[in-house]
């Protein structure tokens, strides 16, 4: 009786059917947009009255003014300081290259291998040795040294900036709160979008390449360092404080040694991020492998593939080497006794002596700075060329029945219809529709941001291109989410799948963005398809990981309870695990969409057109204004996509 009364007192609304909720409203919006598309097709292009056409010319004038003032015989102080910085950056790379030349190739090999052997162990050292051998065999020794020097300069500067800031962020919550949104922003922006502004400021050359790389590589350095400092148990810090340590003593005797493994992992991440930019840096005067890739894309495909392979090899061997060094030298787990550390000192001295001896021998025997003896380049070229000919021959099975139809399918049933839908629907309908969907998905704030950003896109005159890029991003994101979701769930449910996927994911996550595109330029040479396939490959590992982690993270008691009530495995998955993993999955979508955007715009280099193409044109034809305008549109698109997908997670966690 009491129960019945209680039930009456508490109002119990039935859950509304889906079409009366937000999803239903979103469907209505899409239907309305479709009606507008069919009824008023091509009747509402972004009006010239709402476009500010002179952004580009203004920027061009600014660039001319800048270079005029910088190159006068006696520039004023600000320009002199700026020139000094630019020169220093250029020289830094040159010094590093010269150092490796001075070592001779033999000295470089011995230094690299013994350094990793001493601190990272035998396996990692073998990997490094193999990497050296393959640079020589590919005939890309000099290019590899140049790329490595560029990376070394960028990484040291990034760490010089990132580690102290990371320590600050780790020790001060206030600083951490202040710096987090800046880092978020730096990581949302696709690398392609800040190439242009950097080139305007630093003009084409290694200096610009170093700066671009730093913008990309500093955020992870700060974040991981801060994480490491924060990860030191507060108890330990408190104990040291209670014994009368100064703040400096706490930092040097407690926090830094205990965070050392994380600090070295931040070096590892900084290196990978830097290497990933090095290829793109080839576009703006970074020499070496990046240059070979970007030039080879148009003129010498085999060379682009070789250079891409060399970058991959460098990335994997550096990743393994630095990770091994981080783990093996962790003072919290190494347990170094006095005897052992004396042994290790001797070992270090022996290694240094061996390097010295090799350098001397190298000079005496005239080994030379560059490996110029035997290479396997010509021999490999035959095979690569034969492979390229095969995949591009219209009569083969691969081309006729597999790659070509897939590419065409993506274009005809994905990109094309979406593109014409977004471009040809009258612009106010598209704009309002997208903002409404943003509102329904994640709330008022993201919707307002979307409104402002989309308006900016139109205002600078990039509406059509942005809608084109947007449709490519949508297609690629849908593919990524499907692939990532299916494989992620499968990996969470089956440990064989998980074990098989792990090494593939590891490798895919260490590769630079542009490298993904290279094979598909030749495999699926259909307009935007290489960019889309590459972005799926680039973003899917993260999606897979997040989905897998989300599903594996569902508490075992909950699963056990469902099983105890007789749920089948499929029911447990559909009714318990996937709903509970929803936040992780949505986070995956957010990450995926940002990563997809970054690669899709790079695809502009190889036929994806749209915003990326304008940036590429800006770089290659010195049309700075045009490039910057496209960069602004990319940035606006990136912010919109990030806010709208993140708002969804936030709305849910607050509910």
């Amino acid at each position: 009786m009491a129960v019945a009364e209680a039930a009456q007192r508490i109002p119990h609304p039935l859950p509304a059917p889906w079409w009366r909720g937000k999803s239903g409203a979103a469907v209505l919006v899409v239907v309305a947009m479709l009606i507008a598309f069919l009824g008023w097709r091509n009747q509402g292009h972004w009006p010239a009255a709402l476009t500010w056409n002179s952004v580009g010319p203004h920027l061009d004038r600014f660039q001319t003014w800048l270079s005029d003032n910088r190159n006068v015989p006696d520039p004023n102080l600000a320009f002199r300081a700026f020139n000094g910085l630019a020169n220093f950056l250029d020289h830094l790379v040159a010094w590093s290259t010269r150092f490796f030349h001075w070592l001779t190739w033999a000295g470089t090999v011995v230094l690299g291998t013994l350094l990793v052997l001493r601190f990272g162990g035998r396996r990692a050292a073998l990997g490094v040795l193999a990497a050296f051998a393959s640079f020589a065999a590919l005939g890309l020794w000099e290019e590899s040294v140049e790329t490595f020097s560029l990376m070394l300069a960028a990484v040291s500067l990034s760490l010089l900036v990132g580690v102290p800031l990371g320590v600050l962020a780790g020790r001060s919550s206030r600083f951490n709160r202040a710096v987090t949104p800046v880092l978020d922003a730096m990581q949302i922006i696709p690398a392609f979008a800040y190439l242009m502004p950097v080139v305007i400021l630093f003009s084409v050359g290694p200096g610009a390449a170093v700066v671009t790389t730093m913008i990309y590589a500093v955020p992870p350095a700060i974040r991981i360092t801060a994480l490491g400092i924060r990860g030191v148990h507060p108890n330990t810090v408190e104990a040291a404080t209670a014994l009368g340590s100064t703040r400096w003593q706490v930092l040097t005797k407690v926090q830094l040694p205990l965070a050392r493994r994380m600090l070295l992992l931040s070096v590892n991440q900084t290196i990978l991020f830097a290497l990933s930019m090095v290829v793109i840096a080839g576009l703006i005067g970074g020499q070496g492998l990046g240059d070979s890739v970007t030039n080879g894309l148009y003129t010498d495909p085999a060379m682009a593939i070789f250079a891409g392979a060399a970058i991959v090899i460098m990335a994997i061997s550096l990743d393994r080497a630095t990770e091994a060094m981080a783990n093996r030298t962790d003072p919290a787990h190494r347990h170094l006794t006095a005897d052992r550390s004396r042994q290790l000192r001797t070992y270090t001295a022996a290694c240094a002596a061996a390097v010295g001896l090799t350098v001397v021998l190298g000079h005496v025997l005239n080994a030379g700075a560059d490996w110029s003896r035997w290479t396997a380049q010509d021999w490999l070229r035959q095979y690569v060329q034969r492979g390229l000919d095969y995949v591009q021959n219209p009569s083969t099975f691969l081309f006729r029945d597999l790659t070509n139809p897939t590419g065409n399918f993506i274009v005809q049933h994905g990109i094309q219809p979406l593109r014409s839908f977004f471009i040809e629907t009258p612009w106010p309908v598209t704009l309002i529709g997208l903002v409404l969907i943003a509102f329904l998905l994640s709330g008022l704030r993201p919707a307002l941001i979307a409104l402002v950003m989309l308006f900016v896109v139109g205002f600078v005159g990039e509406w059509t291109n942005a809608m084109d890029t947007f449709s490519q991003v949508l297609v690629a994101t849908v593919l990524t989410v499907i692939v990532g979701f299916v494989l992620g769930v499968w990996a969470a449910e089956n440990r064989y799948v998980s074990r098989a996927l792990r090494p593939i994911n590891d490798v895919l996550q260490t590769l630079p963005q542009l490298v993904y595109i290279i094979p598909f330029i030749y495999l699926m040479p259909v307009s935007g398809v290489p960019g889309i396939v590459a972005s799926v490959l680039y973003a899917a590992p993260v999606m897979i990981r997040l989905v897998q982690r989300g599903i594996e993270g569902v508490s075992p008691e909950t699963v056990e309870a469902a099983t105890a009530y007789g749920a089948t495995r499929l029911q447990v998955l559909l009714k318990v695990k996937i709903p509970l993993a929803r936040d992780a999955i949505m986070l995956g979508v957010n990450q995926a969409i940002i990563m997809v955007l970054a690669v899709v715009v790079i695809g502009g280099l190889v036929g994806s057109g749209a915003l990326g193409y304008e940036v590429a044109q800006g770089l290659q034809r010195n049309a700075f204004g045009l490039g910057v305008v496209a960069s602004i549109a990319i940035l606006a698109l990136g912010i919109t996509l990030d806010r709208v997908t993140q708002g969804r997670v936030r709305a849910r966690t607050q509910a």
Partner: protein, 347 residues
């Protein structure tokens, strides 16, 4: 255990009216009527949490002062305010005659280095250093030379029975052994005051007992003054000369173990001590009555003897036993009184 009677001596630690309020505008709460609100009401009204509310106590040299309370009672915050690991919102702390609350950064550092040392619940050992270097850490931050601090650390390790583990690393030791290292680190700087922040709460019961014995032994051997935080009443009763029981940031009762067990200040304390065997804690002082004429020639026992220890003598004796304090008979205890004390247990 050392004398619980500090009369006539100056306290080594003197805490007066300590407040710790967490939250924005915490400073503005004190001095307003809001301080008298309960914790929940204060939180509702101002968003602040009062962790420690107006706590005062004195600790005399050689004494073990125990602060006991359940989690959230403010005891851990209290001990941290003593050396300003957490800044008190109001109040005054004096250690060894010096005002801690008014000390400059440098003075505070010197005080932490030379006057106090602390033992922590989760040990707070440095995972990247050997046991020896962990124990020597306090001396290291003082700037003591390596050979000297290592010699001292060896000496202290011998004191806690870990001389063989000097070259090992913390994660190679059991929890109990790690806390011995923590104790050794605290003893190594030869502090005047040792602060123990729930040092044994993370240990298994059996090891905990061993460690309590160890602390009692070390305290006897070195005569250190201690402030000991615990949530475990038997531990408090075993170690404490004085015990302060905290609840919701306030001290609800401060007294000797027998005062707590014998006359709890309120229902909260009474509930706490209900399951404690009274005969183990109460002394003859607690159950004696005035001697009637002719009873002064019975067998004599010190007035500080616990009831449990007095039972054999009293039950064998035909006459009431005389309780003696400093050679003077202060009262007598008969069989009925002992039986009443034992029968009262568990009520």
């Amino acid at each position: 255990m050392a004398s619980s009677n500090g009369n006539g001596r100056t306290p080594l630690i003197r805490a007066e009216g300590i407040w710790k309020i967490f939250g924005r505008n915490a400073n503005k709460v004190i001095g307003t009527p809001d301080v008298d609100l309960s914790r929940a009401e204060l939180r509702e009204k101002t968003g602040c949490v009062a962790a420690v509310r107006d706590v005062s106590f004195d600790v005399y040299p050689g004494e073990v002062f125990v602060v006991m309370g359940l989690s959230g009672s403010g005891k851990s915050t209290l001990v941290r305010t003593l050396i300003r690991l957490i800044e008190p919102t109001a109040g005054r702390v004096e250690i060894d005659g010096r005002d801690v609350t008014a000390a400059s950064r440098d003075q505070l550092l010197q005080m932490r280095r030379h006057t106090s040392s602390m033992v922590f619940q989760h040990f707070g050992l440095l995972a990247h250093r050997t046991v020896l270097d962990n124990v020597a850490f306090g001396l290291e931050v003082q700037g003591v030379a390596k050979s000297e601090r290592h010699a001292r650390a060896q000496e202290v390790l011998r004191l806690v029975g870990l001389e063989d583990a000097a070259g090992q690393f913390p994660d190679e030791l059991s929890g109990g052994m790690q806390q011995r290292v923590g104790l050794a680190r605290a003893f190594a700087v030869d502090p005047k005051v040792m602060l123990d922040a729930e040092p044994f709460s993370a240990l298994d019961p059996l090891i905990r007992r061993d460690m309590q014995d160890e602390v009692i032994r070390l305290q006897h051997e070195t005569g250190k003054t201690m402030v000991f935080i615990t949530h475990d009443l038997p531990e408090a009763l075993r170690l404490g000369d004085q015990i302060a029981i905290m609840r919701d940031g306030r001290v609800v009762q401060l007294g000797t173990p027998e005062e707590l067990v014998g006359s709890p200040a309120d229902d909260y304390v009474a509930n706490f001590v209900r399951d404690i065997p009274r005969s183990h804690v109460l002394t003859l002082r607690w159950i004696m009555r005035d001697a009637k004429p002719g009873e002064e020639d019975g067998p004599k026992l010190d007035v500080a003897t616990t009831v449990k220890r007095a039972v054999p003598l009293i039950s064998d004796s035909e006459r009431p036993v005389c309780a003696v304090d400093g050679g003077k008979i202060v009262g007598v205890v008969d069989k009925q009184a002992v039986l009443a004390a034992i029968a009262g247990e568990g009520d």
